[in-house]
Amino acid sequence: MTFERDARTALADGQLRGALRQATTLFGERRRAALATAPDWEGARDRARAIKDETLEHLDRYLEQFTANAERAGARVHWARDAAEACDIIGGIAERRGARSVVKSKSMVSEEIHLNAALARRGIEPVETDLGEYIVQLAGETPSHIVVPAIHKTKAQIAALFADKLGIAPSDDVATLTAAARDALRRRFAEADLGISGVNFAVAETGTILILENEGNARLTTSLPRTHVALMGIEKVIPRFPDLDVFLQLLPRSGTGQVLTAYQSLITGTKHRPEDEGPEELHIVVLDNGRSRMLASRVTRQALACIRCGACLNACPVYRQIGGHAYGSVYPGPIGAVLSPQLFGLARSAALPYASSLCGACRDVCPVKIDIPALLLHLRAQVVERGAGTHRVLERLAFRTYAAVMTRPRLFGWVVGFARRLRIMPPLSAWTKWRDLRPLAPRSFREQWRAGLRDEGDPDA
């Protein structure tokens, strides 16, 4: 019920819908333009998916290989079964290193495990350094998009927020606003003793992690503080270094419509000589948190191929209307509607698989060809099978009646004939509140067929 309520609230918010329409349209256009610069887009999608499928098939092996190679290069790899374990590991590192000031670059997995709240309980207040994340943190909100966290905010709202929280003179000049954020964040970078980042790809054969970004904040987060903690889901590993090529073609184009992001940080272990740059310690936290359950079947496994580009959100006509917060999950939109029930439990997210018209726009734009509509249908069948969600009693009865009528053509004919004569319309207030309902035709096709259409004759008869 929260989904329905929150979606209704979103639909009534004119500013939100204006911001969403503008941003998702712009990202869609940029994506299409960037696609034109790719030499073989369809081929790249197929290759990327094949690499992901191969990796997921032997995930245990590739994770072990990644761990061994990363540790050989000087990193320390930690395995976390769930959110609580991951938060404990990171909190423990922060305490052992005596970290007081923590900077963070953008990481959806850290949102998934509610890391900031967990660190706050230990008296540590991490600062988000991605501009969008910083805006969301200042506003006391959560990201509403996996690539564009503050997509729900208008420029005017951000101007008011900065005037209030950063004490700057009110301005709607973008350069002034970003300069104010940069000013505030540079001070935090300078004093930070721990940096926390996400991971876009982890290369098994070299133990390298790759982080893509545009603001340079992830580069600072991973190089300035004495300690770097990188947090990744188990599905981020890929087998070989050259595999990065295809993903670097796909991810920036799909996510932000860029041929390449402004920064690509490849990090292999820690510095080896004292005069080298970079942190003294690199900790890589590898998180399961429900992902290994999804490996079990071929249908559900494909969601682990997701590279978090956000293209499906921008393309989704439902997301474009309601935005991310209504989904009530860190992962909104089409991919969120298939990830959330699997990661956080079907009972908690039973409405999400139904938050789609199954139009398939998400599948068309997905750079790794995840069949999101098929996954939604799979999850809907699970919702029905397990009796999760609400309204199931009446719905079950309706579908039982439907099946009984539709398997008996004479009963079907009798029911529709009866409804037609008495002009009975189904009680569909959810339809008729906004739309006129088309009445049953005076004569059905089959009646017209019997009454003469059949015998009007075929061309060569």
Binding site: I322, S357, R363, L437, R438
Partner: protein, 242 residues
Amino acid sequence: MRVSLFVTCLADQLWPSAAVGAVHVLRRVGCAVEFDERQTCCGQPAFNTGYRPAARVLARRAIEIFESSAADAIVSPSGSCTAMVHHYDQLFDDDAWQARARGVAERTHELSSFLVNRLGVEDVGASFSGRLTWHDACHGLRDLGIKHEPRRLLRHVKGAELIELPPPGAETCCGFGGTFSVKCPEISVAMLDEKVDAIERAGVDAVVSGDVSCLMQIAGRLSRRGSTVRAIHLADVLASTR
């Protein structure tokens, strides 16, 4: 060529002119048309809502009915129901039923795709005066890859002018989505209003589509908003000769 008409329950009961039109057009291009009166619903509402056992029962029934026909092709005035038949194999675990499902799917075509791709016909001898715009139904477009076929057919209709929809465009969902339209009615109508706004901006006399489900959704809102734009099924346009 012998064709078995897969009428779909919605066209049969709510938009019979589309099915009658399909019969006329098919006969005009030289097909013999048969209709098996045992057919009811393809099972899509159950499948899309998660009621797989009910969908399976209806799928088995439809497979048996269409297997019993010796027609060269099964043709439907619906991309959505045709796509459902193409998904039937997902409902079965055993190889025998999967093979039977695929056998029927191979013979099942959406009307515009059948005319253009199977028969090679683009001019069906129709005339219809008016400015028209096309709405791509999602399953026809994205599940079956039907995009150029209806447009080619419409461009050959005498007296008709085809105008592409302004943004968000012909390819954006109208918000119907089967039970989605009543489970999430406010979102469905928000999507629909963008579509209807675009239709009204296009300055057309009618919006044409290949699926009764989308047409019900669009027509229902056009009518509620008091618009003069009509919603018409492709088969109605192609059957028209005046």
